[in-house]
């Protein structure tokens, strides 16, 4: 418990740094007032608007105000949606979350059998095939893979919808697109850890008890290889968010990724800021959860 509290305190400086960077980025990207007012606005009107928005104050004061408001959940109004920025972002969060969970599931479903299989058949053709496929899987750009999948499954075979969100079928292609890179990395990781685990003494003990290969692999070996798997998933959450930006755009998936890209294009800075901070909090929380999950998987880890 004290461990969790300590970890939560460590989160605070991270959030301050992230918020500062976000603010700096928006600050440097120029004056939003010009966009918010009609093109023929007078200099006086512009000055007035700047005052209202507090843009005439020194940088550090502006940041202080931003931070204070952000802590209270106030990122200002989105001038496109004419709503609270945070509200819009939180509305989109579940869709992204759904896509990420789906892609984690897809990648684990792919990676566990492949990783295990190439470990027990190491240095055979099967292993070589799986290993080279995973290099390919990691190297394939997200948007390209997404478009190829759409071409094959939606356009040619007409099995799955092209884009949008709704049924479980809508989820399949985006999940595969966002999950492939992680599946590839997980497979490689799992393979090397399984090989190591399978040479351990306790596997020999398990064999000496008369257990079958299935029990040995899935009960004795895989549990010991789960730790790195969880680590990779946790580390990949940030990559997944990045992948989601692209995947969501390719598939018109109404999540954070789509929102942030639209907001950047429209220079809707309140939304951009809220988005980035929400994503940061999200990534931090997931990493914390992964940390706690280690303990469940490996009883040797103590948090002291």
């Amino acid at each position: 418990m004290t461990y969790i509290i300590r970890r939560l305190f460590q989160v605070i400086p991270v959030l301050i740094i992230v918020s500062f960077l976000v603010f700096l980025f928006v600050y440097l990207s120029g004056d939003p007032v010009a966009l918010m007012l009609p093109e023929d606005a007078s200099q006086a009107e512009i000055e007035n608007m700047r005052k209202v928005l507090g843009l005439d104050k020194p940088f550090i004061v502006q940041y202080g105000i931003f931070l204070l408001n952000a802590v209270n959940g106030d990122f200002g109004q989105s001038f496109i949606y004419k709503q609270e920025a945070l509200g819009i972002v939180l509305e989109r969060l579940p869709a992204t979350f759904e896509l990420m969970i789906a892609s984690i599931i897809v990648s684990t479903i792919i990676a566990i059998p492949l990783g295990v299989w190439s470990a027990i058949r190491r240095n055979t053709f099967v292993d070589l095939f799986i290993s080279s496929s995973s290099i390919l899987g990691k190297a394939m750009p997200n948007f390209w893979l997404g478009m190829m999948l759409v071409l094959l499954f939606s356009v040619t075979l007409q099995l799955l919808p092209v884009s949008g969100k709704g049924t479980i079928y809508h989820l399949i292609l985006p999940a595969i697109t966002a999950g492939t890179a992680m599946a590839a990395q997980l497979t490689r990781m799992l393979r090397s850890h399984m090989i190591e685990v399978l040479s351990q003494d306790y596997i020999r003990t398990a064999r000496s008890k008369g257990l079958g290969s299935f029990v040995i692999i899935f009960k004795h070996a895989l549990r010991n290889s789960m730790l790195p798997v969880i680590t990779i998933i946790a580390l990949q959450i940030s990559t997944l968010v990045g992948g989601a930006l692209i995947t969501e755009t390719v598939f018109s998936w109404p999540g954070l990724g789509q929102l942030i890209i639209q907001a950047i294009h429209a220079r809707d800075m309140a939304v951009v800021q809220a988005c980035v901070l929400v994503i940061a909090v999200f990534v931090i929380v997931v990493n914390l959860l992964a940390d706690l999950l280690y303990r469940v998987v490996d009883p040797r880890i103590k948090y002291n």
Partner: protein, 328 residues
């Protein structure tokens, strides 16, 4: 007494980059029901590989290439995967040297013992758990209900080895193979574990094959001894003869370098030279480069295992004459 296990001309090789290297080279030995046989020898002499060969557990790139291992008359080497799995942990079980690494770190010790019981006996769930607690009690583990839920890393070395023993005993095997069961433990714990193994095997009438490099352990436990050197059996005798009338120069060397006070020797180091690596085994008698009595013949041809009396065999030319004379 009838033979429980009979190993005939076992040869186990490892396929390495330098080609086939024999870890176990034509080893024959037998174990009678109820007997405790010890295999001794310096490390690298092929003791563990011999033990692993019995249950078909030789790790790749190793493989048994020739020989037979008869268990109650049936050849373990010819058994199908399914048949040998019924023997493992059930009729023949193993105890390993390093109990911490031999136990799975992410499963509770209770679960690990229970697994064998559920696999080989018709007990499931609660009844299997009761049996585990009973076993933990039997091997002298205090508060077994609590230890049942413990992970291996939370126990002391001695407790872990007790857990291994409980696991080995769980299906009341006829033969227990213990590969250096006390090497990783401190001296006091060693004595406790040996006593435990001894009393349990007497109660159950279990046959034991114990592997060790510690002649103290041999004196404590064994009825008969097999001395191995460089993958071969160099001497076989009763414990009494081994200590009173060792015949092979290697056995004599082992005895000479063991301090008489039991328990103080950690390694057998004092014979000059070291065990040749498998790749560099000499021609002729494998021991001749380290032997005080080497003559020309020793360098040319490997001596056979001469039977010098009913229960003693020696692989040394010094005994060839004795036999020839007796035959005349």
């Amino acid at each position: 007494m009838s033979k429980l296990l009979q190993i005939n001309n076992l040869k186990t090789v490892f396929y390495t980059e330098e080609g086939q290297v024999p870890s176990v080279d034509n080893v024959s030995l037998d174990i009678k029901k109820g007997e405790t046989v010890a295999i001794v020898g310096e490390s690298g002499s092929g003791k563990s590989v011999t033990a692993l060969s019995i249950l078909g557990l030789v790790p790749s790139p190793g493989r048994v290439v020739t020989g037979e291992i008869l268990y109650e008359g049936k050849d373990l080497l010819k058994m199908t995967d399914k048949e040998i799995k019924k023997i493992r942990g059930n009729e023949i079980s193993m105890i390993f040297q390093e109990p911490l690494s031999a136990l799975n770190p992410v499963l509770t010790v209770g679960k690990q013992i229970q697994e064998s019981i559920e696999l080989h006996q018709k007990k499931k769930g609660k009844r299997a758990k009761e049996k585990v607690i009973q076993l933990l009690n039997r091997v002298g583990i205090p508060r077994p209900e609590k230890v049942y839920y413990s992970y291996p890393h939370t126990l002391s070395g001695g407790m872990r080895q007790r857990v291994m023993i409980a696991m080995a005993l769980s299906c009341r095997p006829k033969l227990i193979i213990a590969d250096e069961p006390t090497t990783a433990l401190d001296v006091t714990t060693q004595a406790q574990i040996l006593n435990l193994m001894k009393s349990l095997s007497e109660e159950e009438g279990t046959t034991i094959l114990i592997i060790t490099h510690d002649l103290g352990v041999v004196a404590e436990m064994a009825d008969r001894v097999v001395v191995m050197y460089a993958g071969q059996v160099v001497e076989q005798s009763t414990v009494y003869d081994l200590f009173e009338k060792p015949e092979h120069p290697y056995t004599k060397g082992l005895l000479d370098c063991t301090p008489k006070i039991h328990g103080e020797s950690e390694e057998l180091l004092a014979i000059e030279g070291t065990v040749p690596t498998i790749q560099n085994r000499p021609t002729g008698c494998k021991f001749h480069p380290r032997c005080k009595f080497t003559h020309e013949k020793c360098k040319e041809k490997d001596p056979e295992l001469f039977t010098i009396k009913e229960k003693q065999k020696v692989r040394c030319y010094l005994h060839e004459k004795v036999i020839e004379e007796r035959l005349k």
